[in-house]
Symmetry: C2
Subunit: 396 residues, 2 copies
């Protein structure tokens, strides 16, 4: 590598790289059909990509029968970094050009430490991970737990990220890593991950609902992330359910997040433990001195009645909000992910029941409401995918 990340040289080359990323090895004939390019043009553009080392001839996939046709595929040594910064952890992965994870690692990290410290750790984690699968870096993507200006590559007024407001995340990472970088909201990249490689594969209209420390929603319409005019689309955590509800970390009251975010579940679990209404949680509290949302989920799964009721009640409220979303947007799929989604089928049952009861039958008729398939990998895969979009689609 000569210090400059390899990139597509034209729009057609970018489209070719995108098709090879999404579909894997293809014959020259099939690639030409996908792109609707005349043979001579195809040969010229493809030749350039091969010369630049972005595409290789002879692929892992078998010919689909019939006459033999040379396969082409993305170069094996292309590498993309995907970073998912959560409220309390960082995950970094290195993928190949098709966004398949080759190596990944996670560590605890409080986003409130601020951008300098958190990005330093993220870079180190990414470097250690990348060293396990060496190759040529073509791009990196990062997801952050707050509103992001995608265009400017920086967070904008993020409620739970003190010190991050308008910090130049993209420019700093791009200069440190020596490749183009995309910065997006964590829920948006999760939605992209599930669409590229997960349960929502190839769907054009979907909603990804993340229930973790915070609650948010990634909206994919017509195959693209819909961000809204100020980049805040998908903010469902702070929809007010009750003017006299519990206080929320955002400073308001009665937000969905104040009922069903990670902190709310831990808080309500603590009440159940202290009042003795949940024997399982009381035991956990006595043993560890504190309770997390995960403890509530474990208690619910073990059959603890009070903890299970808490999950059902939260799922009902979440379902109420998701039902509105479904009525508004009539999506092709609702995917539920994030830490709290580990509560699994009890949660799903409540959400489904609320949506099917409250939304228009025509909108729910063919609507799958499913759990995330990629789990903790959704964010890093989506961030890597977003990075390839930039590397492939913005000609050098």
């Amino acid at each position: 590598m000569d210090g400059q990340a390899p990139r597509a040289g034209s729009r057609e080359q970018g489209r070719m790289l995108g098709v090879l990323r999404d579909e894997g090895a293809l014959s020259r004939v099939a690639l030409g059909e996908r792109l609707e390019l005349p043979r001579a043009r195809l040969a010229a553009e493809l030749g350039r990509l091969i010369d630049d080392g972005l595409v290789e001839v002879g692929g892992p996939a078998a010919s689909r029968g019939g006459r033999r046709s040379t396969l082409v595929h993305l170069a094996d040594d292309l590498r993309v970094i995907g970073i998912d910064v959560g409220a309390t952890s960082i995950t970094a992965a290195v993928t190949d050009g098709r966004c398949e994870v080759l190596a990944s690692a996670s560590e605890e990290c409080d986003v409130r430490l601020g951008p300098v410290e958190v990005l330093r750790r993220a870079r180190e984690l990414a470097a250690r991970t990348a060293a396990r699968a060496p190759g040529r870096l073509i791009g990196a993507g990062i997801g952050l737990p707050g509103p992001v200006s995608f265009r400017d590559g920086m967070p904008v007024a993020p409620p739970i990220m003190p010190g991050w407001d308008r910090y130049p995340v993209r420019d700093e990472l791009a200069s440190a890593l020596g490749c183009p970088v995309t910065v997006d909201n964590d829920v948006n990249v999760m939605a992209l991950g599930e669409r590229h490689a997960g349960v929502a594969r190839s769907l054009d209209d979907l909603i990804f609902v993340k229930v973790g420390t915070g609650i948010g929603c990634g909206i994919v319409l017509g195959g693209r992330v819909y961000r809204g005019v100020a980049g805040t689309a998908g903010d469902i955590g702070h929809v007010r359910l009750d003017d006299f509800g519990p206080p929320c970390a955002c400073g308001e009251v009665g937000c969905l997040e104040a009922y069903f975010g990670g902190a709310a579940l831990a808080r309500d679990g603590l009440t159940l433990a202290r009042t003795g209404r949940s024997p399982v949680l009381a035991e956990t509290l006595a043993a560890t001195g504190s309770l997390t949302a995960r403890d509530v989920g474990t208690a619910a799964a073990s059959g603890d009645f009070a903890a299970a009721s808490l999950v059902r009640e939260g799922g009902r409220r979440l379902g109420q909000v998701v039902a509105s979303l479904v009525s508004f947007l009539n999506p092709g799929m609702v995917v539920i992910g994030g830490g709290v989604s580990r509560l699994g089928h009890a949660l799903l049952a409540e959400v489904r029941s609320a949506v099917y009861r409250r939304s228009l039958p025509l909108a729910t008729g063919n609507l799958p409401i499913v759990l995330s398939e990629l789990g903790d990998d959704a964010g890093v895969i989506g961030a890597a995918w977003s990075a390839t979009e930039r590397a492939f689609m913005s000609p050098a």
Copy 2:
């Protein structure tokens, strides 16, 4: 006219016609700049449009100074029909190629009479209106008060339109009128009307909320109507606000429409009149024997306390739903229209207060929440616009 409506012959010609529709007369130079077409290509495509009589040379608009440049504009005699079928009325308009209304007319008509009768009346009304501004018909658009399959040109399972389910509205009208026809949901065409010629002019992301007999919402994202996978996007009338709320015409309970649609306002107004809590409504009831939503609005505007409270309460509930929409979609503008919007600023104040209180500050920071500017014309203008899109953008 030779029995065949004139249409664009190529994609570039379609784009030219679209620019001349949206911007009016332009110099050849300015048109070439808008389309980023090389001069020779521009001359050839424009020549074809002039030969076909779709575009004329020498226009009403003055040159913007500097050296003289020939103006071109859409032919003066192009005509488009826009039809807006509501629950209880039909409006038909004939417009020029720029979708400016040249003549329009309305009549009472119950959509429950079924498609044969309603479409017969719509055709007659359109023909009488078109006769007042003769010219060459290039297309017609119609909005219907229910879910529509835009692709198939027909209503699909519309709740308040018995007999209309999958009736081939587009094909029947196209054959009767001898021009291409588009069929869409009434709220979608209203949103397009406000975007083309009204308060939302040139905005790419907006929500149009119609409060009339029914309550619905047209969503424009990235400059295009977003319809959802089954065409039901924007259904906010049947978002359930309360599991134990009043019964709705759709068969469910507690829908927004059951609180604040035209029928709900009339029903609640009747209660106020009968119990004597509204002296104004009691008087109207005694005089006319019945009450409508409009009577409630008039009473509220005249200062009747009970009627005004009804409007405020409805506005609060509507605002609750609009706040969710704003949080989800982060639009650039919210436009409120339909019959009940005549309640005006009292209604607007309640909706604004709910949205600004409940949605994320970043999403409401630069968000205008305004009344429809085109009023009853929004639907016919939007339907005509949709018709020109088809006539211009689908080459013959």
